[in-house]
Amino acid sequence: MKKNKITVSSLLQALFIGIVIFILYLPILIIFLLSIDSSQTGNTFTGVTFEWYKEIFTNKSLYMSIITSFAVALSATCISAFFGTFAAIGIHALSKKAREKVILLNNIPVLNAEIVTGISIMIICSLLIPVIPDFFGYWTMLIAHVFFTMPYVILSVIPKLNELDPNLYDATTDLGVRPFKALWKIVIPSIDTGIISGALLAFTLSIDDFVISYFTSGNGVTNFSNWIYVRLGRKNFTPAAYAFNSLLTIVILIIVLVPQFKKNKKQKAN
């Protein structure tokens, strides 16, 4: 292990990173302050209160929208990751020309403005209304989220497939393993990191989306971002939204940092 030398340059680098982290977290800090501010308008700080945290559990339209956001994001992530991986394997197996064409199509949801994607899906789904009346709501939102997240999964997985040693699969089947088993047991684990990073990206994009969700919601189903967007003007929406966001941030921080500390302790012990 190289010893860490504390030089002027490394101090400056640390300062640089520190400033950037500070600026990135500034809005999160403000959100936290607003969540404990007893003023509903957030214009001045009138006192500390935790009533907004309690309200998360009593305000039905709020917690339903939160549950919906997570339900859609988690489901869409699972579906996109699963089917996206197989689609990527399929695309990878195509001839170069066919592959390029499919990737081009695949990239359009990525490159398109969200509002255009939202409207596109709404148009297609509304054509199905006569056939499946109560279709809109949860299912359409889910389809929309799967639609715009799957391309990212595919784009994460394909580079990993490119890096894969082509002989690995051939060797496995030569040994008598059936094709799908070879896929499941050998290929997929080796592209694991691609699937995980794709899934992570999918979840991130889904949980925060409001434009596409707006056009594909219905039947009273709405997600957290939409809930906020609709209230962004009318009245001040309850600071319980800030409270929830702060809670979420703290939980994620814990999930991310605790394993790191555990790892550090282990290494120091060794």
Partner: protein, 271 residues
């Protein structure tokens, strides 16, 4: 593994239904004058495309390009060095540090925009700590907020690429006596260019086509192409103009990608 190409067929069908069909629909709509989606009263018209060079739209395109462009460049100038520093450091918790930098994206974007509003309006909660800025409506506020929203999306791909880059090339270069600066520009930068490309796409596209940041932080005064398209689809229900402008945006972006892919010989990867 070639037998698996049939696995791609369901996905291709899915894409055709959800991508190609709407594109065709938008193409048709852009050449018509219709009452939103009601095609029974629609008539063929070139008016939509003819109005493309209207000053208002050109302004909007320019605003989008300018603001998203500057924001993207700033993201590269800040994000890439950060990824480089962390990747080259010998910290034990590199990954945790990157995660800390990425974490803000899981915080709801609308709430973060509101937080920036509070910071940039002169009278707000931050006065309690003696600070006050009057920056709503300025390009600065919009660009600054855009950078903070999308910086993590530049850090992630550049860090990933730098991390898995084969450092032996760099070491070999040093061993041959090449200076650090030259090594960086001749070896590191080209090898990590794919990460920068990903970052550019993940930052520039949403920044240029979004509308929420300009609406709230631009005081409603700055109009980008996203705002114009939103108005057409949601306020005046002019799906024809909305479709036309959306197609133009797609064409510009695809054109840019094609141009840039001439630099990136390896092909289609974006992330």
């Amino acid at each position: 593994m070639n037998r698996f190409k049939y696995l791609s067929i369901p996905y291709i069908i899915w894409l055709i239904i959800l991508v190609v069909l709407p594109l065709l629909a938008m193409l048709i709509l852009s050449f018509m004058d219709s009452d939103s989606l009601d095609l029974s009263t629609a008539k063929f018209s070139l008016d939509n495309w003819a109005s493309l060079f209207n000053q208002v739209y050109l302004n909007a395109f320019w605003n989008s390009l300018k603001i998203a462009g500057i924001a993207t460049i700033i993201c590269i100038l800040i994000g890439y060095p950060i990824s480089y520093i962390i990747s080259n450091s010998h910290l034990e918790n590199k990954f945790a540090l990157i995660m800390i930098l990425i974490l803000p994206i899981w915080s709801n974007q609308l709430l973060r925009i509101i937080a920036w509003e509070k910071i940039f309006y002169p009278i707000s909660i931050i006065n309690n700590i003696g600070l006050s800025f009057d920056l709503i409506g300025t390009d600065f506020a919009v660009i600054f907020a855009t950078v903070t929203m999308y910086l993590p999306f530049m850090i992630l791909p550049t860090y990933t690429v730098l991390e898995k880059m084969d450092k032996s090339y760099v070491e070999a270069s040093y061993d041959l006596g090449v200076s650090r600066v030259r090594t960086f520009f001749k070896i590191t930068l080209p090898m990590s260019s794919k990460g920068i490309m990903s970052g550019i796409i993940m930052v520039f596209l949403p920044a240029s086509t979004g509308f929420a940041i300009t609406e709230r932080l631009g005081g409603g005064k700055i109009i980008m192409i996203g705002n114009v398209i939103e108005n057409f689809f949601k306020r005046s229900f002019n799906y024809n103009m909305g479709s036309m402008l959306s197609l133009v945006v797609i064409l510009i972006i695809m054109g840019a990608i094609v141009l840039l892919s001439k630099f990136d010989k390896e092909g289609e990867t974006i992330i």
